[in-house]
């Protein structure tokens, strides 16, 4: 007990030391000349060339667009329009009500023809609310207040607000609202801004196309982000199998005379584009488990997101389109297209020459972490980086699983240095305590383990199951805690009431018992006194006039009836 206060002191020797060490560490972030390799990972066939044969082109606007209200992490946006409303391109259609959310804008001009549940590309396979727009073909833009004239002198808070108003979310795949990530928080300094241009999944080439064809937009966006974050250093991490993109960026930066933004080529190892893996590769520091890059003084943004920020703040266009890679042996003309959000995937495939006979599976995202879509009647959303129409050879049917033989190949390739075989063992046994002891929640679901498993066990599926179960259990526990608390409060209240009643009764008893000690005379005197009091009150009552006294007979009888009814009602209502 004696040392408790000293432990509670905010600053002691150790604390100061830790603080100093932390500050020094943060200021000493140095970008490694020779990029490191993280543990494990896979060297996969890139398969990016087929979609890069033609330059990035504009996709045509479909007749109907289905724009989901939730395309991001966080709460769904709330519609601002009604069925029948006319819309202009870029006009806000739905607003965000909470901090972690993003508004949604009209991708083109037209008319709202429905607001309701439609299929969306989501792993759950459930329908979600969409605003359905019938395009008028004019593509007329609404006036936008997003553009900033002197953006590099602007207040970061102002920039964040505009990024938020533009509906920009992380375009790398997670879809986290960008404005939130542009806000490091008070007393947090950003030493390093990492631009994630690794694009490590096979087949996906949308960022590469963007960097090659819209270099200026990308660089502008990065510079705006640097200004908004007051970041001291900026580095673009890019896989070394994209020499074109690297030289485009480097030339663009040289032309702009911006030598503070560095392009670093990293080894092409999946998942080099995982945020934590990329940061480790660039600076050799590990983001703490359950922590964020900002804990190291780092903020990481996707290169596509940077371009969207540049577009919004310099050209005034909110996030209504994005670059999508359409590729795979299942589509005739693989390409990168600039697609309006809400364009049905079927439409997009048609613009790439349609399906080939080989098509067997439709994926959104890459072949390692993408979502398998049940149908192409779904829209492109803000996080759709790739539509992969895969052949049977590219994405074969799952093979029957054998038992785990603990060969440990999974552990060899795990970029988080986990023991997937042990995680599988405990997830399979539904031992959710043990599975957390083996750090289930450090799993990034990259799929490397399942990819190398000789027993063909769908490992990632087991980890997702275990995570979901644990979250459910936690929710249930929270609910149960609240219920238990309520129950305990009720018991406490009943107990208290019982005690109070007993106390009152005891008091009343005492009061009754007391006069017994007195004589018969005094009792008689009390009774007469009480009678006197009653008499006096009656006389008083008779003397005071009532407002019902001067009424007609009819009214009197009515009142009597009402009184009677009231009395009977009152009695009936009694239990």
């Amino acid at each position: 007990m004696n040392d408790a206060p000293s432990r509670r002191l905010p600053i002691n020797g150790q604390g100061i030391f830790a603080l100093a060490a932390c500050t020094i560490q943060r200021l000493m972030i140095t970008i490694l000349e020779q990029a490191l390799n993280f543990h494990g990972g896979l060297r996969l066939d890139a398969n990016k060339a087929q979609s890069l044969r033609t330059p990035l082109r504009q996709a045509s606007i479909p007749e109907r667009l289905f724009v989901p209200l939730s395309q991001h992490i966080g709460e769904a946006a709330e519609p601002l329009v009604e069925v029948g409303d006319s819309l202009l391109k870029g006009q806000p259609m739905a607003r965000s009500l909470s901090y972690i959310s993003a508004p949604v804008h009209a991708p083109t001009s037209g008319r709202v023809i429905d607001i309701g549940a439609y299929p969306v590309p989501h792993p759950s396979g459930l329908k979600a609310d969409c605003i359905v727009i019938e395009a008028d073909g004019e593509d007329q833009a609404a006036p936008s207040g997003l553009r900033m004239e002197a953006v590099f002198e602007a207040d970061p808070a102002d920039i964040r607000q505009r990024v938020r108003d533009a509906g920009i979310v992380g375009l790398g795949g997670a879809g986290f609202p960008t404005s939130v990530k542009l806000n490091p928080g008070p007393d947090r300094e950003v030493e390093l801004l990492v631009i994630n241009a690794a694009e490590c999944e096979p087949y996906i080439s949308c960022d590469e196309a963007l960097m090659c064809c819209r270099t200026q937009e990308v660089i502008d966006g990065i510079r705006i982000m640097r200004h908004a974050l007051h970041a001291r250093q900026v580095v673009i991490g890019i896989e070394d199998n994209m020499p074109n993109a690297i030289s485009c960026l480097q030339n663009g930066l040289d032309e702009a005379g911006d030598t503070d933004i560095r392009v670093i080529a990293i080894a092409t190892v999946y998942p080099a584009g995982g945020e934590k893996q990329l940061i480790y590769t660039l600076i050799g520091e590990e983001v703490p488990s359950q922590g964020l890059p900002i804990d190291l003084g780092i903020v990481c943004h996707n290169v596509g997101t940077a371009a969207a920020v540049g577009r919004a703040l310099l050209q005034g266009e909110p996030l209504i389109s994005r670059v999508v890679t359409v590729t795979g042996a299942g589509v005739r003309q693989p390409a990168n297209l600039d697609v309006r959000i809400g364009t049905p995937i079927a439409e997009l495939i048609a613009q790439c020459g349609g399906y080939t006979d080989k098509v067997a599976r439709l994926l959104m995202g890459g072949p390692m972490m993408g979502v398998s879509l049940p149908s192409d009647a779904m829209p492109v959303i803000k996080t759709t980086n790739c539509i992969l129409a895969a052949s049977r050879q590219e994405a074969p049917q799952a093979l029957p699983a054998h038992p785990c033989i603990r060969c440990g190949k999974c552990a060899e390739v795990c970029p988080a240095s986990l023991l997937p075989q042990q995680l599988f063992w405990y997830a399979h046994a539904q031992d959710f305590d043990k599975v957390q002891d083996y750090k289930l929640f450090d799993c990034i679901e990259c799929g490397c383990c399942a990819q190398v498993c000789p027993s063909h066990i769908p490992l990632v599926q087991y980890y997702r199951f275990a995570k979901t179960e644990i979250w459910n259990q936690e929710r249930e526990r929270e609910k149960a805690d609240i219920a238990r608390q309520r129950h305990e409060f009720r018991l406490e209240r009943l107990e208290r009431e019982k005690k109070e009643l007993q106390a009152r009764r005891a008091k009343a008893k005492k009061a009754l018992n007391k006069p017994k000690a007195g004589s018969a005379d005094s009792k008689k005197a009390e009774i007469t006194a009480a009678l006197e009091r009653v008499k006096a009150r009656k006389a008083e009552q008779a003397a005071t006039a009532r407002n019902t006294d001067n009424l007609t007979e009819e009214q009197q009888t009515k009142i009597a009836e009402i009184d009677k009814r009231r009395a009977s009602d009152h009695n009936e209502n009694r239990p």
Binding site: D376, E394, L399, Y438, A450, P454
Partner: protein, 347 residues
């Protein structure tokens, strides 16, 4: 258009259990051929009997357990268990020795625990140990290796001996069998002979037992190929061989007359077969990289201890089983540090 859905990842898988087992079987071929060259037809009979018994036993138990028979058999694990046991048995053992061993390995050591992936002990070694404890006499029926001045049994005589335990007239069991080099050295050290005296006998070759040195060499080559094909990783063999080397070197330096040289130990008995094919059975071994190093080292040390001071000539089987018991504990204490954590145990 509608499409079937599935969970990620979707790429064609890079590894396959059947291929893994096939690679193990392929890698065993040079060693098995060498064993056959030095010890004759009995080696082949052992392999045939253990493999067929193992597969039949597995099929029967699977049927009893109402599991898919063909799908499970096709993983090849039963046949590998049978072959590993067959390679460890003396070539002139009567036919029921490999049968009993294989039955015990598959039924008790493997299937009763739940089949592939669930057996805590190496099934082939359980089968071997059951035989050596229960039938010590039959388990010494090694023939003299080819090239030594001794009778070498032709095909028909071997068939007769193995299947009917009958010998041709005028031939005794003693004249067609011979103790192994490890066995002999153990006996003769007990008779106060020095190592140089022991090694000068015809049973010994250029650096270890005659024949055995080449058998171990071929298993080493097969094992290296397995490693090169990434069917096994290096931790267990390196752990086992280096521990055996270091321990035997220490004793050899201390007293070269009473202890065999490190090279002798590395190329004697089941060292290489054990290091690359038996200890590397992933199911019953430790599973963390560091743990596998310790697991292998434990086998190396125990092998040396049992060879030197134990009751049996070779110690690989017992060493493997003892370390199988230790594997879960080793795994627990050798978890790697997870990315973003300071030490393996914090959460």
């Amino acid at each position: 258009m509608e499409f079937p859905t599935q969970s990620s990842p979707y790429l064609p898988l890079s590894n396959d259990l059947n291929r893994l087992m096939a690679q193990v079987m392929l890698a065993l071929i040079p060693g098995a051929l060498c064993l056959f060259w030095f010890f004759g037809w009995g080696v082949l009979f052992n392999l045939l009997i253990t493999a067929t018994t193992a597969v039949t036993a597995e099929a029967m138990v699977l049927k009893l357990r109402k599991r898919p028979v063909m799908a499970t058999l096709s993983d090849g694990s039963a046949i590998v268990t049978g072959l590993l046991l067959g390679l460890a048995l003396p070539p002139l053992a009567p036919w029921w020795i490999p049968v009993v061993g294989a039955l015990f390995a598959i039924i008790v050591a493997k299937q009763l625990y739940g089949g592939l992936g669930y057996n805590p002990f190496n099934p082939a070694m359980v089968g071997y140990v059951v035989l050596i404890i229960s039938f010590p006499l039959q388990m010494t029926l090694w023939s003299p290796p080819r090239g030594i001045e001794a009778e070498f049994l032709p095909f028909l005589d071997t068939v007769r001996l193995v299947f009917t335990q009958a010998l041709a007239d005028g031939v005794t069991l003693d004249s067609v069998t011979m103790a192994t080099p490890l066995d002999t050295s153990k006996t003769e050290i007990g008779l106060n002979l020095t190592w140089s005296e022991i090694l000068s006998k015809p049973l010994y070759g250029s650096f270890a037992g005659h024949g055995w040195e080449w058998i171990n060499m071929t298993f080493l080559i097969g094992g290296l190929w397995l490693w090169q094909r990434r069917a096994i990783d290096w931790h267990i063999p390196v752990g086992m061989l280096s521990a055996l080397f270091i321990v035997s070197l220490l004793f050899y330096i201390a007293d070269a007359d009473s202890f065999g040289s490190p090279i002798f130990h590395l190329f004697s008995g089941a060292t290489m077969l054990g290091a690359f094919f038996i200890a590397t059975d992933p199911v019953s071994a430790a599973t963390t990289p560091r743990g596998r190093l310790y697991f292998g080292a434990g086998i190396g040390i125990l092998t040396y201890v049992i060879r030197g001071w134990g009751g049996y000539p070779d110690g690989v089987a017992f060493a493997v089983l003892l370390m199988n018991m230790a594997a879960p504990t080793i795994d627990y204490y050798t978890q790697p540090r997870v990315f973003g954590h300071r030490d393996p145990k914090d959460s």
